[in-house]
Symmetry: C2
């Protein structure tokens, strides 16, 4: 009976608290290979490094664990791991634990979820874990048993083709788990304007999330707001099938 081979990455860098916890948890389930960025790569989405080459180096090896750091983005890490590092196709990819929510539209900006989409694209069962707490010393401990249960169940049940999971935990106490859909909404007031000593303007990304369906009770934002962990089954096929008939009627 072989142990599952588990690939771990993140977007906060290989020495972030979240990936250290995730590594410890996954070592209870299988053999672990960590291939993570050599520093923070937040909000890198599915960005790829194309204008210069990337490198990786082994930073630790012990029974059941190999750890590598990589100079690329989270998606680069997954590609490099699958093509050049792991000896066989992993049974599972987990990414995170991210400091900060990847619910709602954040899924398209997130480096954590970029890595998950990349694993999924390559046929690996892939799950992203995030917690709605940006603070460096966020308490991940109450999330631990849920991460183990979700991961073990996913390994047992599997997921449909080209489908992965986006798992987010609320701040504070956890009321349970809700399977949810991606909430509709957008970021607003996105820049803080400053002036440099020469009087020239520069802009910091900031803003707040505007929920466009605050009354809906089946969204990830609703679940998180009520203290539930949200699990959004997520896909890499972006085709808007429901719009195809309308566009086919255009006279082009």
């Amino acid at each position: 009976m072989n142990k599952p081979l588990i690939l771990i990455t993140n977007d906060d860098g290989h020495d972030a608290k979240g990936i250290e916890l995730l590594t410890r948890l996954m070592m209870q389930i299988g053999d672990v290979v960590v291939v993570a960025p050599d520093g923070p790569r937040s909000a890198q989405s599915n960005a790829l490094t194309v204008t210069h080459p990337i490198r990786f180096k082994k930073i630790e090896e012990k029974e059941g664990l190999k750890r590598y750091s990589c100079t690329g983005t989270p998606t680069d890490c997954v590609k490099l791991a699958l093509n050049e590092i792991v000896e066989r196709q992993p049974d599972l990819l987990v990414s995170g634990i991210n400091h900060g929510s990847n619910a709602a539209i954040n899924v398209i900006y997130s480096g954590t979820m970029g890595a998950v989409l990349e694993g999924c694209e390559n046929g690996v069962l892939s799950i992203g874990f995030s917690i709605c707490d940006h603070s460096f010393d966020a308490d991940f401990s109450i999330f631990e048993p849920y991460i183990l249960k979700i991961t073990r169940t996913a390994l047992e049940k599997g997921l449909p083709h080209a489908t992965c999971l986006n798992v987010n935990a609320p701040m504070g106490e956890i009321a349970g788990i809700r399977i949810a859909r991606q909430c509709d909404g957008r970021w607003a007031k996105e820049f803080a304007k400053r002036s440099d000593p020469q009087g020239r303007s520069y802009f910091w990304l900031t803003g707040y999330f505007e929920n466009h369906e605050p009354e809906a009770t089946d969204t990830d934002e609703w679940a998180l707001s009520k203290g539930f962990i949200s699990i959004v089954p997520t896909k890499i096929d972006l085709t808007a099938y429901e719009a195809m008939d309308a566009v086919k009627k255009w006279e082009l």
Copy 2:
């Protein structure tokens, strides 16, 4: 009767041939504001600049056209344009013309399409244009009437909520237009390994696209291979609705 306000961006930089052509074409349709990266930002997906601030500067202003360059990613450009540059919500965002295909899974890596998803997310009718020809002197001229027709029709008909278009043109002659779905497939053999003068390995992203459904005749890859322009209606809601029932049955 007001002219449409059209926001243009790309991922090849504000001085790329593709965006110059797209700007010329869009000036036939409306008032144009270009906010594009100050250099190449290929494969930047929906990456955001979060670790340092960004800037923009006006590089041209004349009747019906304002052009700005921005130090950020394509998605940054759209966010900055909508928050800080344009005076009202644009009627249309177009991105490109990209040198190289953004069909199939390339949609999730593409900076061109990242900008389109961002426009869509902000409620702007958004279309990405790409051509399957990487060469610097690619001939875009036979694509021109199609770009105008697709754009004018989209402005007239509109698109459903949270839906945008991913338009790709084939190499060479154009046989017509096909409304298609995103082809299933993946990139393979993705890295070229080299050694530096100190004997240390480094890796260049490369590889080839492996079509997982070469027999299907409704995909973007099929359309392009037969000389058709492919139009994929594309969405920003990544929820795998078809997988929700299965995951809800997990005992979590």
